[in-house]
């Protein structure tokens, strides 16, 4: 797997979690079950920055644009030839290639960075 794709997935997984915890319904649910989010804003930023600085600037730029548009899930999985970001079937030319996770490919419909699950 492309190492930059690994960093992008790590960042996307973190941003998805952070975005979820900003959602009142989810946060309240987690708190009612006994979980606490104790990390301070600066600790969270430090964690985020430590991942971001490993990502090449042009890819980070691309990631930020997608993240800004969709708030979460800037990296989407591809399952059975379908982008799970926008639920559109990818063109056959995308599906036919070899190990697709060796490079950074974006969805032609929603622009999300793609990770092939298989």
């Amino acid at each position: 797997m492309n190492i930059q794709l690994q960093y992008l997935i790590q960042l996307s997984d973190l941003d998805t979690q952070l975005e979820e915890l900003k959602n009142d319904r989810i946060r309240t649910k987690e708190e009612s079950l006994g979980f606490r989010v104790q990390a301070k804003e600066n600790e969270i930023n430090k964690l985020r920055e430590s991942i971001r600085k490993k990502i090449e600037p042009n890819l980070l730029n691309k990631y930020d644009k997608i993240q800004k548009r969709y708030k979460m899930r800037a990296v989407a999985q591809v399952n059975d030839g379908v982008c799970y970001g926008c639920f559109t079937a990818l063109p056959t030319s995308y599906v036919a290639e070899g190990d697709k996770n060796n490079k950074i490919i974006t969805c032609p419909n929603c622009g999300r960075i793609l990770f092939w699950i298989e």
Binding site: I9, D13, K29, Q38
Partner: protein, 156 residues
């Protein structure tokens, strides 16, 4: 949705060797039948969640949970440690049972949160019966979980 449906034989570990949180998470994720790269990314997502706030909710229970884009379905693993694991829990106590949940970023009907809620409820019942620590085989464990789930349904 039943917790027991998620718990296949391979998903329950009775003799966790690890003594610390990080090692225990590694030991459990290592049991997943996935490539090393996927396992590493799942572990990172779980550890990131722990940095945001510990999932050791006290009374010997931890419910680490995270989402990862590398998974396509909701997974549940249980790990039991007789000796206890240093987990930086909210009450400072060691953890004897870990319920580890990993979900894809999107899951149908938000099963992830429902499962999280059910496990939190079940684990509180489970620790009242400290004898769960004596169980050392899958058949007895799943039987106990099924019984508890039935009694929980009755309460609703």
């Amino acid at each position: 949705m039943l917790i027991s449906q998620f718990l296949k034989k391979d998903n329950v570990i009775f003799d966790l060797k690890s003594k610390t949180k990080d090692k225990a998470l590694e030991e459990m994720v290592d049991r997943m039948k996935l490539s090393k790269e996927k396992k590493d990314l799942i572990l990172l997502s779980l550890k990131q969640r722990e940095i945001l706030g510990t999932t050791g909710i006290g009374n010997g229970i931890a419910i680490p949970h995270a989402r990862s884009v590398v998974l396509d379905k909701l997974c549940l693993y249980v790990g039991i440690s007789q000796k206890g694991i240093e987990y930086e829990s909210l009450d400072g106590k060691n953890v004897n049972i870990i319920f580890l949940i990993i979900a894809p970023p999107l899951d149908s009907s938000n099963q992830y949160l429902i499962l999280l809620g059910k496990i939190a409820a079940l684990s509180k019942k489970l620790i009242k019966k400290k004898d769960y620590l004596k169980i050392d085989n899958y058949e007895d464990f799943i039987e106990l979980i099924k019984k508890m789930e039935e009694s929980m349904e009755d309460e609703i």
